[in-house]
């Protein structure tokens, strides 16, 4: 569906995207994750044909991103939803349907269905009189007016209240279930974890991790073990000391060898291990750690950026 090779974009001397390589399979929700200024939006805009890469190639739906035919099969949702405020949702959606050669009746049926699913009742109210959440729903409906094969959504839940965010994220899942391919950017990693099949993590324009969320967790995440014992144990070279917690004692370690050492020590002291609990690192934890360790962190400091 999408193949990206050594994609680069620089603004003057500032490297916004530094040699990205990834591919997106048909029917998956692909997440591009990173903080502000990581290069997410620039990457998405290069895929949508809005921004010309400085180097590298991107093939979207088997075509060049700037090919108008590719755009016919693309639904793009920018981070902001600046709509024409003097129009109504219906006239706005009809106008865009017209640009995509979608017949009026087909467009009306399609947008009515989407707006019903997004729970937007007001079809003939001025967009300028609508809330941000309502406008976002209209923008999402616009991205679907041409029944695209590929959806590129830049921060679709940005700035929305939790209720609307849930509606939008649920809608993205439904799109995937319908067979649409969605490329989805976010800096809220909870959104990514809850929706995306695969992700790339960008930092300072560079991909620092990639894969499914479990894969990334396995490769980059640290699992923490809380070992509960019946006896208090002093610290040794093999394990840390246990601390009282209620009627038990607990030590926190991040290695199974330490767990084993604690078990042996407890048994030597006529005690035993009564419980072991594990904490898996969140995507956010992994991201923060990778960002700190990223060698490009200092390289791009001070440049002007686009997220």
């Amino acid at each position: 569906m999408i193949t990206v090779e050594n994609l680069r974009k620089t603004y003057g001397d500032f490297p916004a995207v530094v040699g990205s390589d990834f591919s997106v399979e048909s029917g998956e929700v692909f997440g591009i994750v990173g903080p502000n200024g990581a290069g997410k939006t620039t990457t998405l805009k290069m895929l949508a044909g809005l921004v010309e890469p400085t180097a590298g190639t991107a093939e979207v739906l088997g075509m060049d991103p700037e090919d108008p035919e590719m755009r016919r099969k693309l639904g793009f949702l920018p981070e902001e939803s600046p709509l024409y405020e003097d129009m109504t949702p219906r006239s706005y959606l009809r106008f865009f349907a017209d640009l995509y050669d979608v017949p009026r009746d087909v467009a009306d049926d399609r947008t009515d269905e989407v707006l019903d699913r997004l729970d937007l009742e007001y079809r003939d109210r001025r967009l300028g009189d609508m809330s941000k959440g309502m406008k976002r729903k209209v923008a999402i409906a616009r991205s679907l007016v041409n029944d695209p094969d590929l959806l590129i959504y830049d921060e679709p839940a940005s700035g929305l209240d939790p209720l609307t965010t849930n509606v939008v994220l649920e809608f993205v899942r439904e799109l995937r279930d319908e067979g649409k391919t969605v490329v989805f950017s976010a800096h809220n990693l909870f959104h990514v974890e809850s929706v995306c099949d695969r992700v790339v993590i960008l930092n300072r324009g560079e991909i620092i991790a990639r894969g499914t969320v479990p894969e990334i967790r396995a490769e980059h995440g640290e699992t923490t073990y809380h070992v509960y014992t019946t006896v208090e144990l002093p610290a040794t070279d093999d394990h840390p000391a246990t601390a009282p917690e209620g009627d038990r004692f607990v030590a926190t370690v991040d290695d199974m060898a330490d767990v084993e050492a604690l078990r042996e020590a407890a048994e030597s002291a006529d005690g035993r291990v009564v419980d072991i609990r594990t904490d898996e690192a969140s995507l956010e934890d992994i991201f923060l750690r990778l960002a700190r360790e990223s060698p490009t962190t200092s390289a791009a400091e001070g440049g002007r950026g686009r997220s």
């Binding site: 921004v51 755009r71 600046p82 709509l83 024409y84 616009r142």
Partner: protein, 631 residues
């Protein structure tokens, strides 16, 4: 047939002329449909932004303006309508003269509230300033009435027994020795042999003899020539009366002779400019509105090109301008020439506003841009038209063609091309420049206007030869700027004017040849090496040289017959060898000076400025040498 053959046949079919034509037709139709959709949307959306009260107010204002215009056209603008009351009997022989005067109002003799009483035997004037003014108006009314009556006579020789042909001349200082001045319609009139007439039958027989152009000699001028003399730029006398306002009567009294100032035509021609100033306000807002808050981003990701969007957004405003122009032309008696001359002006208004709206960072800056466009273009088009009957320089404005058209004068194709060509080309280039930055990476950035300008130039550069293309495309602007310099400096003594024009020409041309090279270097489009700089300079010089040859069109209207025209454009009346040298020399000059500026531009802004000064200096010296050596 094998698979291979099948593929080959398909390929052949796909490449056939008919299939290529079909493909082209499909693409053109797709573009036109996209443009029409955007245009339709622009109309409906713009209409939606105006509330009903504003629409009603606008309609009332339009009706009032139309009423005033109709009144002005029908009876002239008369704020002094029925200003003076005249007591006069209805059977008085002077009654019709008073009644037909717009200033005078006839009243019964018994009415005491009058400024003037005209009885059978005498005229009584109130001993007040108003009374004396009323008497003066009465005398003029009677005189005009008499002239009108005389014109109705079948025997015009009896009515006007003396024929005097007046011909207005340019100032002697501006007439090259030995040349004739025949109103500027003559082509290469510099030779002074009287052979170069392009307008036919304009009295060349009277002028060609000794080159002194003695007015009123009447030699070889028959009645048809005299009538044709009114068609020349310098123009014949204009006599008083309503018709005289449109270029002069054939007859009248010496007292009613007025200068060749086509007042009424000018006023009416100005009516074409007024709506444009309003239309560009709405147009500029619409363009900038797309850029505010990235509103237009979604159009850019739709399966349409930026050109389609720009064309679609511009079309309704252009159509509005054309519609208004046609209506105004119909109302004031303008013909197709007026409409055809005004439309390029409208395009230039729109294109300038478009570029301004693409560069402006806020509505505040846009206001500055639109006001600047309004003032500059209105001045540029209107002021030269004042001199319609005085000098061919007036033709730098298409409005001059309108004034001529309204005055019933003929407009030659050469005049039309000279007047409209640069304006039209400039408008097209401005649209291209603005469309170049109608893309995500440029539309939504908050860069300063000069930087946006450089972005726009750079957007049209993809390879070294683009530099030559841009240099050639700068010619309309160079032409306009140089003509403007001539028009502005026209009033100064020629000894001062010529050097100033030569400097102005050098500045304009060196800027035109180098700004895009500087933009390309600033945007890191090319390597900043000496070799590349020299290559770009040579290409720029070549492109400019080729584009400059289009200025040969000035030969069509006799502008080079003026000393100023010779200073600004290629001189004529020279030998073949000199002409050949002059053909190559400008190419060398342009290549050298453009290379100098390119070498400066590769190092940055300061060195570019220094190099520009140097290039201007070289250019000025060259111009001085050419003018001095060729006289």
């Amino acid at each position: 047939m094998s698979d291979h053959d099948s593929v080959r046949d398909d390929s052949t079919a796909a490449d056939s002329p008919s299939s290529r034509f079909e493909g082209l037709r499909t693409r053109v139709v797709a573009h036109l449909r996209a443009v029409a959709r955007i245009a339709r949307w622009e109309v409906s959306r713009s209409a939606g932004t105006v509330d009903r009260k504003t629409i009603a107010l606008g309609l009332v204002a339009a009706l009032v303006a139309a009423g005033i215009a109709a009144g002005a056209v029908g009876s002239g603008v008369a704020i002094d309508q029925n200003l003076y009351r005249v007591g006069i009997a209805s059977d008085s022989p002077y009654y019709d003269a008073v009644d037909q005067s717009s200033v005078l109002e006839p009243r019964p003799l018994s009415d005491p509230n009058v400024e003037l009483v005209v009885s059978e035997t005498h005229i009584s004037v109130a001993d007040t300033q108003t009374g004396r003014a009323a008497y003066q108006a009465y005398r003029e009314a009677v005189q005009s009435y008499n002239e009108r009556q005389m014109r109705l006579e079948a025997n015009q020789s009896a009515a006007f027994p003396v024929v005097v042909t007046l011909q207005y001349r340019e100032r002697g200082a501006l007439v090259p020795a030995g040349s004739r001045v025949d109103g500027g319609n003559g082509g290469s009139a510099v030779s002074g042999d009287g052979s170069g007439t392009a307008d036919g039958g304009d009295g060349s027989g009277a002028d060609a003899g000794d080159g002194t152009g003695s007015a009123g000699s009447g030699t070889g001028v028959d009645s048809s020539d005299a009538a044709a003399a009114d068609d020349t730029n310098i123009g014949a006398s204009s006599l008083g009366g309503a018709a005289g306002l449109f270029g002069g009567d054939a007859s009248g009294s010496p007292a009613s002779i007025s200068p060749p100032f086509p007042f009424a035509s000018l006023v009416l021609a100005f009516a074409f400019l007024v709506p444009m100033n309003f239309v560009i306000q709405a147009y500029g807002s619409s363009i900038l509105n797309e850029r505010v808050n990235r509103r237009g981003e979604l159009l850019l990701v739709a399966p349409i090109s930026p050109g389609d969007i720009v064309a679609g957004k511009t079309l309704p405003y252009l159509a509005g301008m054309v519609g208004i122009t046609v209506v105004i032309a119909a109302a004031i008696g303008g013909g197709p020439v007026s409409v055809a001359a005004v439309i390029p002006i409208g395009l230039l208004f729109l294109s300038s506003t478009f570029v301004g709206a693409m560069f402006a960072r806020s509505f505040k800056e846009l206001t500055f841009v639109t006001v600047t466009v309004s003032v500059f273009l209105t001045t540029y088009t209107f002021v030269p038209a004042i001199f319609t009957n005085v000098t061919p320089i007036a033709l730098i404005s298409p409005l001059t063609l309108v004034v001529r058209d309204l005055g019933g004068d003929a407009v030659s194709l050469g005049d039309f091309a000279f007047s409209v060509g640069p304006i039209l080309l400039a408008a097209i280039v401005l649209f291209l420049l603005g469309t170049g930055v109608y893309r995500e990476e440029d539309m939504f950035t908050q860069r300063s206007v000069p930087l946006k300008f450089l972005d726009a130039l750079d957007s049209r550069i993809s390879r070294p030869r683009s530099i030559a293309t841009l240099s050639a495309l700068s010619i309309p602007f160079v032409f306009i700027a140089e003509l403007l310099a001539i028009a502005v400096l026209f009033v100064l003594p020629v000894d001062v004017t010529v050097p100033l024009v030569l400097v102005a020409v050098a500045v304009v041309e060196e800027l035109a040849k180098s700004m895009h090279i500087y933009a390309a270097f600033e945007k890191a489009r090319f390597a900043r090496t000496i070799r590349v700089s020299l290559l770009l300079g040579a290409l720029s010089g070549l492109g400019f040289f080729l584009g400059e040859k289009f200025t040969a069109i000035v030969q069509l209207v006799g502008l080079p017959s003026l000393t100023l025209g010779q200073a600004a454009f290629a001189p004529s009346g020279i030998g073949l060898a000199t002409a050949a040298g002059l053909l190559v020399a400008p190419l060398v000059l342009h290549a050298v000076t453009a290379s100098v500026t390119a070498l400066g531009a590769r190092r940055g802004k300061s060195t570019y400025a220094l190099a520009l000064v140097g290039a201007i200096g070289i250019h000025v010296v060259y111009n001085m040498q050419v003018v001095t050596n060729l006289g």
